[in-house]
């Protein structure tokens, strides 16, 4: 299969920042998966010179999120063979477009193992993702590799170096790809042309019940939509603690005063729910931290105990 050659990789400033933050706060080397999508972008600049052939449309990969693993050799073995079954839990709603590796104070070149992992990852057939806006049915295999390191000499300012590659399975080579950091602001508005939201927030059609009468001629098409809406409604009802959406209409007009108390009651219930959730998160992250430090201690123990024999 011919590799699709990427022109560039786009990553939003906050995503890159949060990645670097994660990597530099980690006690040791880390690696993980990159999620996102790949899009064909038609060239927007038309050449004045007609003799000049218009540039090919660009293939751009956008990294939208990442997942780092708490230990090395997490989704691959010591030979760099990817265990595809370990990837499946991370695949719902998201598609893997590559992976990254961060190792401090090392050359900014892929290692033996990184080569093997990239080769293995890009050759898993059911991981390849369809290219968006493509005029033909093309698939992109997860072949992006992002490498992070720090300078060999200690610096006064914390410095991170990174480089992106695309693994080309036909040539068995890494092809360096430029990274475009997309930021918010007028200068970057054009970058959001291919924006697509990644969150799994359900579309809540709340007004459905009041509007059905007007749309009777289209009920048949909407039958499945209605089922979905009913499901969404029940999800929403759970959040409202028994406060029905219809009651909100009474907030306007003379009855309003009576209902403020009811609304306040709703907010209070919601707040206490959030608070208890926060507390839950707090205790569970304390437990995670405790477990992590315990694991580290165990690993040190193993490291110290060996050589002695």
């Amino acid at each position: 299969m011919d590799d699709l050659v990427l022109q560039k990789i786009a990553i939003s400033g906050p995503t890159l920042a949060s990645m670097i933050q994660r990597l530099s706060s980690s006690p040791a080397d880390v690696d993980g998966l990159l999620f996102g999508h790949v899009t064909y972008i038609a060239p927007s600049t038309l050449p004045d010179d007609s003799a000049q052939t218009p540039p090919d449309s660009q293939l751009v990969a956008t990294i939208s999120s990442f997942l780092s693993f708490p230990s090395l050799l997490s989704f691959y073995d010591s030979l760099g063979r990817v265990d595809s079954s370990s990837l499946t839990p991370h695949l719902d709603h998201k598609s893997i477009i590559g992976w990254f590796s961060s190792r401090r104070k090392t050359p900014l070149r892929p290692s033996v193992r990184e080569f093997s992992v990239s080769r293995s990852l890009s050759s898993i057939p059911n991981l390849s993702l369809p290219v968006q806006d493509a005029n033909f049915n093309s698939h992109f295999s997860p072949s992006i590799f992002l490498l992070f390191t720090t300078p060999i000499q200690d610096q006064f300012v914390q410095t991170n170096q990174y480089r992106a590659f695309q693994f080309q399975s036909a040539k068995l080579r890494f092809n360096p790809v430029s990274i475009d950091i997309v930021n918010i602001g007028p200068a970057f508005r054009g970058h959001y042309g291919s924006f697509s939201p990644n969150s799994a927030l359900p579309f809540l059609n709340c007004e459905l019940r009041s509007l059905t009468a007007m749309n009777e001629d289209r009920t048949e098409e909407k039958l499945t939509g209605m089922k979905q809406a009913a499901k969404d409604q029940s999800e929403l009802d759970m959040c409202t603690e028994g406060m029905q959406i219809g009651r909100l209409s009474r907030l306007i007009g003379p009855e309003a005063v009576n209902y403020t108390a009811g609304l306040e009651d709703l907010y209070q219930k919601m707040l206490s729910k959030i608070e208890s959730l926060a507390r839950l998160v707090e205790t569970s992250s304390a437990k995670v931290l405790e477990q992590e430090s315990h694991n580290r201690k165990l690993r040190y123990k193993v490291a110290r105990s060996t050589g002695v024999e």
């Binding site: 006690p27 090395l72 080579r173």
Partner: protein
């Protein structure tokens, strides 16, 4: 070097590698990959001898995850070297599967593992370079390889920098003789060898006659104490010659010269023994190669040391003498020394006893000069 900062499992494996690798490996850039230095040092660069040069490989362990095997980054010019990727090429499969098995059943408690890994990878690197050289489109080179490949231990390397013209380098080990065995009480840990470095320029396809390769003799460093390859005059490379023709003559003459160099040890030993009746028992003498002897002498109340430094060209070349005072010390705390004295009456045809006498006579006068020199420089301070 010190192994203090390493976790014990890395230190044990690195120690074993340095002590058991057949050649001398250097370690550079020892660093820690941890956020703070608590985990210890866990990454370093190895300078591995290859084809009369070094290849630099970065070995990356992870102090936090002692159970996982180290990762390796090869040099920037070797981005097509993929030792783990099984292509199923001729003979390659075996090498690769061996490397793979070293990595797949890695055991951090076994100190021999790093050595095994590096050796397997180096073997593969050798066949990778050989394959690249074989792919070079140069008729002369193809002929040379086909005639010489049967020799054991040949290493090849292709260098292709952006600025430099493409070159292929061969390192050809010469003479199937064990020099270590020829030296009595040999102190060398690594086998000593002499190599011919042959560099072929590549790419001038349309030249009528291929230009002569650049030839240079090289030896392991420790061999220099016995035999210096710089003293060897290489036979000329005739037009249209090939390596298979050239090597037998070179080896024949080298073999003679090495044998002679070994026999010269005894000549030097006899010379040092001949010095003893006149100079007294040496304070210190090199008992294996007999390249150096030191005697304690006096001239009146002036006591000094005589260092006799004997070159590998002895007796053709006279020994260099150096006097060192036992009574005068420079402000830096270093004993006063004379420059190397090599200009005194000498004939390689003299008997050892006569050589000793002539040196003794020369030093009787020279010691007075040296004493004056020491006293004068002392009084200046």
């Amino acid at each position: 070097m010190s192994f203090d900062g390493f976790p014990p499992f890395i230190s044990a494996q690195l120690h074993y590698l340095l002590n058991h690798f057949p050649d001398k490996i250097k370690v550079e850039q020892v660093l820690s990959g941890g956020k703070s230095y608590t985990g210890g040092l866990d990454r370093f660069t190895l300078l591995i001898p290859y084809c009369l040069d070094h290849i630099k490989w970065d070995v990356i362990y992870n102090a936090e995850f002692p159970l996982s095997p180290p990762d390796i980054i090869f040099g920037p010019d070797d981005e097509d070297f993929h030792p783990l990727h099984a292509t199923g090429g001729e003979g390659e499969g075996d090498l690769k599967s061996r490397t793979r098995s070293v990595l797949s059943d890695w055991n951090n408690k076994d100190p021999t593992r790093l050595l095994a890994l590096i050796q397997e990878l180096r073997d593969q690197y050798m066949s990778y370079q050989r394959k690249r050289v074989g792919e070079v489109d140069d008729d002369r080179l193809k002929f040379e390889i086909s005639t010489i490949l049967s020799r054991e231990g040949i290493e090849m390397h292709i260098s292709s920098g952006a600025e430099k013209p493409e070159e292929v380098k061969f390192s050809v080990p010469l003479m199937d003789m064990n020099i270590n065995k020829m030296v009595h009480a040999c102190p060398w840990r690594h086998p000593q060898k002499i190599y011919l470095q042959v560099i072929y320029p590549v790419g001038r396809k349309y030249a009528s006659t291929p230009s002569a390769p650049r030839l240079k003799l090289m030896s392991t460093i420790e061999l220099r104490v016995l035999f210096s390859v710089d003293d060897v005059k290489l036979p000329p490379w005739l037009d249209g010659m090939c390596l298979a023709e050239y090597l037998p003559h070179l080896e024949e003459s080298l073999e003679k010269q090495v044998l002679e160099a070994v026999s010269l040890i005894d000549i030097r030993r006899r010379f040092i023994e001949a010095l003893a009746p006149l100079f007294g028992r040496p304070l210190e003498a090199d008992p294996i190669f007999c390249r150096k002897a030191t005697f304690l002498e006096s001239s009146g109340s002036f006591v000094f040391l005589v260092h006799v430094l004997i070159s590998t060209q002895f007796p053709k070349q006279q020994p260099a003498l150096m006097l060192q005072s036992s009574q005068h010390i420079s402000p830096q705390g270093v004993p006063k020394q004379s420059p190397l004295l090599t200009d005194y009456p000498w004939s390689p045809r003299w008997e050892a006893s006569q050589m000793a006498e002539r040196i003794y006579d020369f030093l009787v006068d020279e010691s007075l000069n040296f004493k004056r020199f020491c006293n004068e420089s002392q009084s200046q301070h």
